[in-house]
């Protein structure tokens, strides 16, 4: 097999570097990967703990321990996200801030409106609906801010 001509290799390296630069700095990629691992561990342990506690007769300290495992993973994800924020560049930090502000604000407004809406005869909603809304608006806020500074 013939080796790439130097020009082709340089083009490929340049193309790869351009692609990498679209996802931020090397530190950003590492920190995003770390956050993703923690978030996936959180989701997996949450589903596992939920299934285990519903389908098995586990009670007492063991049940509390199982229920707390996802919380530990969530703390890890939060730590990874904060580290990402600390080490990323200032524009990415601003984009993240706009996303978090929109998500947090939407969650608070939704939770505060919930009581009044229920009193007005609206269908009963719970905290998980607010969490889902916060996640969606957080993602939307990031996408919108990314588009604004594109």
């Amino acid at each position: 097999m013939m080796a790439d001509a130097p020009g082709n290799e340089a083009n490929r390296v340049s193309w790869l570097n351009t692609l990498r630069s679209c996802t931020g700095t090397a530190a950003d990629r590492k920190n995003r990967y770390r956050f993703l691992v923690w978030a996936m561990a959180w989701a997996a342990t949450f589903l596992g703990a939920d299934w285990g506690l519903e389908n098995h007769d586990v009670q007492g300290p063991t049940a509390i321990f199982i229920a707390m495992i996802p919380t530990l993973m969530a703390c890890g994800a939060l730590w990874a996200y904060l580290r990402f924020l600390r080490e990323t560049d200032e524009l990415v930090r601003r984009i993240q801030l706009e996303g978090v502000a929109l998500g947090f604000g939407a969650g608070i407004i939704f939770l505060l409106s919930l009581v009044s809406l229920e009193d007005a005869g609206f269908a009963k909603l719970d905290a998980s609906d607010a969490i889902a809304l916060m996640l969606v608006t957080w993602a939307f806020g990031q996408l919108f801010a990314t588009w604004r500074y594109r």
Binding site: S14, N17, T18, R20, S21, C22, G24, T25, D28, T88, D89, E90, L91, V92, R94, T146, R148, Y149, R150
Partner: protein, 67 residues
């Protein structure tokens, strides 16, 4: 705020990705500064000026708005 970043980069025949690597920021940040959508904070502005051996005033013009 208007700036000469795109010109200074072009003089060195650098891509946005190359400049982003030199400044240790994302390519999106370089693009946003060049297009005037984002004004960098002082530490990054100093870094940019030093990289091109210029003063901050020679790179950034606070009196002009990017169109």
């Amino acid at each position: 705020m208007k700036n000469r970043l795109r010109i200074l980069r072009a003089e060195r025949d650098w891509t946005q990705a190359t400049l982003a690597r030199e400044l240790e920021v994302s390519r999106q940040t370089v693009n946003a500064i060049e297009t005037g959508k984002y004004d960098p904070a002082l530490p990054l502005a100093f870094k940019i000026a030093r990289l091109f051996n210029q003063t901050i005033e020679e790179v950034f013009d606070p009196g002009a708005e990017e169109t």
